[in-house]
């Protein structure tokens, strides 16, 4: 058992937003069969959205590209899924939400409150949805306003998920902290695209999208490292984690917990596998819990 922003996590591995998080049943499966310590839902918005046309995700030599386009059934449509998730999973369920303005964020958060999410994660970082996500998340003022707006109407922890597609992620992290965030989550996907050379077509239906998986781990580690220095609140690490070694690396960079997205491609029980690996590492190194590892690399000079 491990406490993060007041939530009791089964272990420090968390399902990342937008991955296997569209239905309540799927979230329960990741928690129970997959062994995740907590799960984050698909990002939910104010109105139903079909998302971008396919192809919306594919594997690259290194990592994955996706441009889902925030498909979601709206908070009204998602409420029943959230209830299922809360009932059937034995771990905290964090509702990821998005909107085009502080008011929309507020509306969605309030709309989901009846489903009793254990926390909210604000998606101000999706790189391929016009007017949403990174459009907000690269502007510190908007990030602070959105965070404050949601904090105002909920009394569960609020995490803010950051985009790496900015000159200085710590400046956005600071804005979230000022807005009252209980934690930041770093990082969302990195802007990227791929072209089919036989036809000349960009492969994604949306032409460009976000890079995830192994390719972005060093980028995530650097963002986490910098945020750990800059902020008081915890940093939750995400981006390219696919082994317990990756998780330990992020924790040493400053992550208080790690989220795992693309790596469910290989196996669903990656969460148990990684949390067992972390435990074994702690034991071998003589640490009583992961607290001793968080930010360790900052002390090595």
């Amino acid at each position: 058992m491990y406490t993060l922003t007041g939530l009791k996590l089964k272990n420090p591995t968390i399902l990342a937003a937008g991955v296997l998080g569209t239905t309540g049943a799927s979230l329960c499966r990741v928690a129970r069969e997959g062994g995740a310590g907590a799960v984050v839902t698909k990002s939910i918005g104010p109105a139903p959205k079909a998302g971008h046309p396919n192809p919306s995700m594919f594997e690259l030599e290194c990592g994955f590209l996706n441009a889902m386009g925030l498909p979601n059934p709206s908070y009204l449509g998602f409420l029943q899924e959230l209830e299922t998730a809360k009932k059937g999973s034995d771990v905290p369920v964090i509702a990821s939400i998005f909107g085009g303005s502080p008011d929309e964020f507020k509306e969605v958060a309030e709309g989901l409150l009846p489903g009793k999410p254990d926390a909210f994660e604000l998606n101000v970082s999706c790189p391929h949805a016009e007017g949403y996500g990174a459009a907000i998340g690269s502007n510190p003022c908007l990030v602070e306003a959105v965070t404050a707006a949601v904090k105002d109407v909920v009394n569960v922890p609020v995490w803010v998920k950051l985009t790496p597609n900015v000159s200085d992620i710590t400046c956005i992290g600071n804005a979230a902290e000022s807005g009252g965030a209980d934690a930041v989550v770093a990082i969302n996907t990195v802007k990227g695209m791929a072209i089919d050379i036989e036809s000349g077509y960009p492969i994604l239906g949306n032409r460009s999208g976000g890079l995830s998986g192994k390719a972005i781990k060093p980028i995530a580690v650097k963002c986490i490292y910098d945020l750990y220095t800059a902020l008081e609140i915890p940093v939750i690490g995400v981006g390219g984690v696919s082994s317990w070694q990756d998780a330990v690396e992020m924790i040493m960079a400053g992550a208080a917990a790690v989220q795992i997205g693309s790596a469910v491609y290989d196996r669903l029980d990656i969460f148990s596998e990684i949390s067992i690996g972390i435990e074994a590492f702690l034991k071998r190194k003589g640490y009583s819990d992961i607290k001793g590892l968080i930010g360790l690399s900052h002390e090595m000079v």
């Binding site: 799927s26 998302g51 396919n54 192809p55 919306s56 594919f58 594997e59 979601n72 449509g77 491609y265």
Partner: protein, 259 residues
């Protein structure tokens, strides 16, 4: 994997609304029931079962399939796959019942052929709206016995595949493989459930796919949370107990839609 470029080498007209597109790439490791993501460039990418190592068999229903129907030999599309879990092959000597409705015959024809090669006895119940819409009757016949049903009675039994099934001793089969419209599959499911034969059965499901590789979660079914694209599309009847099969599906936004 990136989409590979597949060039059409031959097009067969299977019925007024169904065509088979043969391409210049062989999915050597393909198991019947596995699918590919077919990228109709500039339009959409959609899942299609492999009807052989180098073909898909497509029913024209909407934008992407209509665009496919405009393509000619020498034209090309993108392909990712093969993905997902296929049908379990029978062992030598096993009696296998194949139940195919409409374009559901596409993944089942290679299954019947592979089952025959594996030394199984193959029986097929093939249903369609009318005689014209029957697909792959010849391939199934070459693999074993075929019982035909048509909604309008223009060939075989008039009615649905379940009407044929009611006349068969289903307990005599070691394996039952089903693919077709959801309403038909749901009827077959209930029938097999009543006769306590679900353990022997496998169904190939159809849900809205986005990633096709088990990451995005668009295709998950209730209440198991199984992913149709990765844990399926072929599921055993037992996996589908207490499921959404025949009740609802989800659209691209994730909203439930009644069946």
């Amino acid at each position: 994997m990136l989409p590979l470029n597949a060039t059409i080498v031959k097009i067969n007209e299977e019925s007024p609304s169904v065509r088979t597109f043969f391409f210049d790439y062989q999915f050597e490791t393909m198991k019947a029931g596995q699918f590919v993501m077919v990228w109709v460039r500039g339009v959409d990418e959609i899942p299609m079962g492999l009807s052989s190592k180098n073909s898909i068999t497509v029913q024209k229903v909407g934008e992407a399939t209509s665009k496919l129907f405009e393509l000619k030999e020498g034209d090309s599309f993108g392909l990712r796959g093969p993905f997902g879990v296929g049908f379990t092959l029978p062992s030598k000597g096993e009696r296998t019942l194949v139940i195919a409705g409409g374009v559901g015959a596409a993944p089942l024809a290679p299954y019947a052929e592979a089952a025959r090669i594996a030394g199984a006895e193959v029986y097929t119940v093939l249903g369609a709206r009318s005689a014209d819409d029957l697909i792959f009757e010849k391939r199934f016949a070459e693999a074993g016995n075929v019982y035909v049903s048509t909604d309008d009675g223009s060939k075989g039994v008039k009615g649905f595949v379940t009407d044929v099934l009611n006349d068969l001793d289903l307990s005599a089969y070691d394996r039952i493989a089903v693919c077709g419209p959801e309403v038909m599959m749901a009827s077959v499911f209930r029938l097999l459930e009543d006769r306590k034969l679900l353990e022997k059965s496998e169904f190939s499901l159809h849900r809205y796919f986005k990633c096709g590789i088990g990451v995005c979660g668009a295709c998950c079914i209730d209440r198991s949370g199984l992913r149709v694209c990765k844990d399926g599309p072929v599921f055993s009847g037992v996996q589908l107990l207490d499921s959404e099969l025949g009740k609802y599906t989800r659209d691209a936004s994730g909203r439930r839609v009644k069946i």
